[in-house]
Homo-oligomer: 331 residues x 2
């Protein structure tokens, strides 16, 4: 295992400490937890938004804490749901009197623990709504998941719900727009190589030197097809077709595109994938409002990528365009 | 070789096409070249700034084209200097009448080709100044280099020279501040694994499963020491000591810090490195104005990182803080 770490058991706490030390004007840590919140949290009169999940997906989710996106992020152990008490601490730290929206990637442990935290919060009189993100078009049910998994598209839920929350909207309105994003969001990924959880010390799966896997999850969960490595154009076509079909996209639809690197894939390769994606969408008369390329939701040092499309309407476009000032996402 | 590409011979042209397709409001391609420039280039009455070099270091340099940083970036073949005619095209495309500054990483081929381009430009009546960045503290002379290599710190040269250029400063003033950055800049890197040039098809060097190398260059050039993998804290101490000594930093100095990932190293590990860096600098009474953590100057899918420090004064601090609106660097 080749990692720049000190102790596999302390990677998350050291990561959070190093993160907060880097950005003291933007974020602060809730003492005694692995929760980071906006430096100005709680923001009075604004719905608070909390997301999180297992660590190993950086910059998700701490990188999206800031004006226009998340108020708080909870970091569980690597690829492990955060505990309800940590989520509860995040809710308390960001509640500015208008309630808190929880953005939960659809994994059984995350859903259960965020729900338990919501119950704890409601006992304390904090209104909580939940939105479950299940953008992964690859498979129904999987390791860790009943239903579809939540992956990179989650970042666009943060962006759009966060933008609406900044306008002073109610908790119900913010939850509604987050659910609208989920209903118009689809992602599909692929992997060329596995990642290694520090405490496990060995890769989560094996894949031959000439093989790739389509539909792999962000924790290395099985995908839908193993094959010899295909070209970037062929991979782009497979992922894009699935996502376009999932969303029933039609001529003259407008979308946002995210080409997400899973950790070890050079930006060069993501740009090459986008070269195909942008030209296929153009041929289909699907208009691209904005393209995001980079590492938004990783799987440690996994090589591979995912393609996300979000179908836009007037409201979603305006919220996508709104200002955001976080560490990993600025507009 | 596990890469998301179509043809090893066309990775750069496809990358540039995919990049420009993603960000049409921000950049445009000079037709028939691998040069990208600001969408509004040339900006009249502003010094133009051009950088570039071999590809494989993305987001460098195209990602830094935009308001407050570069006017143009030239992409050579992978790990190969761009040709003089391509650099010349970039100079012509960004000259707004106040001359053009070339920011050159110190590799023999880059220096030669950028200088030839400068001569071509001067024949056409375009004033050109050059600044050579040699921030790598690891070694004097190396593969491809006489003197010290130019690596991740180059991004801070772009940032600060770009900010001064936006104020309407003269070419001489912009060149002077770029040289001032170089005089106060030091970087040191390390590698855990090699990268593979697509056209070569195999890794540029080999390194044992339990080994790391200190001082490796961003093209896999040899460093100064191979050893068993050390902890993140030990690695941070080695790199930081070298950089602090190189700059003769003293108590109460103020610096900017960049923890740069070389391609395959998870952000989690970079945050863990920063946890050590920030605490050591604090113990030394060296004040950190700003910390940048991420992939700023990569080496394809190499695993490893570099640490950069830039000593600041009033002028450099103000220019560092100024607005920048590029694809990979926003303030």
């Amino acid at each position: 295992m080749k990692k720049l770490i000190n102790d596999p058991e302390s990677v998350v706490s050291e990561m959070v400490a190093g993160f907060v030390a880097a950005y003291p004007k933007k974020v602060k840590q809730v003492p005694g937890t692995n929760v980071v919140v906006r430096a100005d949290a709680p923001v009075q009169g604004k719905v608070g938004i909390v997301s999180g999940g297992g660590s190993g997906h950086e910059p998700a989710h701490g990188g999206y804490v800031g004006k226009g996106m998340l108020d708080g992020a909870v970091a569980g152990e690597v690829f492990t749901s955060p505990t309800p008490d940590q989520v509860f601490e995040a809710i308390k730290a960001v509640d500015g009197g208008k309630g808190v929206l929880l953005v939960i990637k659809n994994y059984t442990g995350d859903v259960m623990n965020f729900e338990m935290a919501a119950e704890l919060a409601e006992v304390e009189g904090i209104k909580v709504e939940k939105v479950i993100v299940n953008d992964d078009a690859a498979v129904e049910n999987s390791t860790y998941t009943v239903g579809k998994r939540g992956i990179a598209g989650t970042v666009l839920v943060h962006k759009i719900a966060g933008a609406l929350a900044e306008t002073g909207a109610t908790l119900e309105e913010v939850a509604a727009v987050a659910n609208k994003v989920v209903a118009n969001l689809s992602t599909m990924g692929m992997a060329l190589s596995p990642s290694t959880i520090p405490a496990a010390g060995k890769p989560g799966f094996t894949i031959d030197e000439n093989e790739m896997e389509i539909g792999t999850g962000i924790h290395g969960e099985p995908g839908i097809e193993r094959s010899e490595i295909k070209t970037a154009d062929e991979v782009a076509d497979i992922l894009l077709n699935k996502v376009v079909n999932q969303l029933h996209l039609e001529k003259n639809n407008e979308v946002a595109v995210m080409i997400n690197g899973l950790g070890a894939t050079p930006l060069m390769e993501l740009y090459i994938v986008n070269n195909r994606v942008s030209s296929v969408l153009k041929e289909m008369d699907i208009s691209v409002r904005e393209t995001f390329i980079g590492e938004y939701m990783t799987s440690l040092e996994m090589a591979g990528c995912s393609i996300t499309l979000l179908r836009l309407d007037q409201q979603l476009s305006e919220l996508l365009d709104a200002q955001a000032d976080t560490i990993a996402f600025k507009k």
